[in-house]
């Protein structure tokens, strides 16, 4: 994946990494942030349309974020090791079309990847906006989550 705004190419795809959804971590996340019965308890989940315990959708997208940031941080360390200054870290104004397409169950491993779909300059000269479409695919090849996000991305120093 590119680092500086100037270098991103439309269509550039990067595999970000994988996250294994352990049952205990799924339940711990749900207890804190999404304590619905089908995220907490196998027996209660049998009464739901899912039929069994499923991860909170917020857990599946938070895991995407972790893989995305790990990738970026790895690149920043590589730049620093070469003596180059990495760009400042930007924030995101938002996401659209976040879709939970299939349930994530205990023991599933989701591999996340991201593709640049658009980029544009903004009035702040040190920054640009990169739009990316990201997907998570489980160990059976099924897409479980996807979203389109916009990230403020630093330009090369001039």
């Amino acid at each position: 994946m590119s680092v500086f705004f100037e270098d991103f190419q439309i269509g550039e795809t990067t595999v970000l990494g994988a996250y294994k959804f352990e049952r205990a971590a799924m339940i711990a996340f749900a207890r804190l942030y999404d304590p619905q019965p089908f995220h907490l308890d196998e027996e209660a989940a049998k009464e739901s349309i899912y039929g069994d315990l499923v991860a909170s959708g917020w857990h599946t997208v938070s895991a995407f974020m972790r893989c995305f940031i790990d990738t970026i941080e790895g690149q920043r360390r590589e730049l620093a090791a070469r003596g180059e200054a990495p760009p400042p870290v930007g924030v995101s104004p938002g996401v659209t079309d976040l879709r939970w397409r299939a349930p994530v169950r205990p023991g599933d491993t989701v591999t996340y990847s991201t593709t640049v779909v658009a980029k544009r300059a903004i009035h702040r000269p040190a920054w640009g906006l990169v739009t990316r479409h990201s997907v998570g695919v489980n160990q059976h090849g099924a897409e479980v989550v996807s979203c389109t996000s916009v990230v403020m991305t630093g330009r090369r120093p001039r």
Binding site: I49, Y50, S56, P88, V91, T96, L98
Partner: protein, 155 residues
């Protein structure tokens, strides 16, 4: 208490609920697991970034909103989860000490075509801070079981 079903959500209704105090420890704990960017995990280093100090991960704000919604109404409802989120915008930073609440507006409601026992209710959720600023807005659909379809099925 009666369980809320699809039929119980009135289009056009707006309600407010929740009062979650955001702490620096929780911001950093969430971020260490899921979003370990400098402005979410390190107060001192965050001062030198574009955020000017520690702020919550946007995904943490969404998760705190979800918890308030579970506590207020989803966990006394027939919710069957959500197919996704049409839009999230993070309008303002969430900082330690902020007190967040939710303003929920019901935008629409329709029975599911493919699963007649379910209905889809579309909401916007505005997350507000203690001075009334909207810090996040989310628009999405939640699936609920239908009371009438249940009655028909029972006979």
């Amino acid at each position: 208490m009666d369980i809320l079903h699809f039929e119980d959500f009135a289009v056009g209704e707006t309600i407010e609920y929740g009062a979650t105090t955001v702490t620096a420890d929780e911001i950093k704990e969430f971020a260490r697991q899921f979003d370990p960017q400098v402005f979410h995990v390190d107060e001192a280093a965050a001062l030198t970034t574009m955020t000017g100090g520690l702020i919550a991960s946007g995904w943490h704000t969404a998760a705190m909103m979800m918890r308030m919604s579970c506590d207020h109404f989803l966990n006394r409802s027939s919710s069957q989860g959500s197919p996704g989120i049409d839009e999230i915008s993070w309008a303002k930073p969430v900082r330690p000490g902020d007190v967040l609440s939710v303003r929920r507006t019901t935008l629409g409601a329709r029975p599911s075509k493919s699963r007649p026992e379910l209905g889809l209710v579309e909401f916007t959720f505005d997350v507000l801070n203690q001075v009334g600023d909207v810090v996040m807005t989310q628009r999405n659909t939640i699936l609920f079981r239908r009371r009438t379809a249940l009655a028909e099925a029972v006979g």
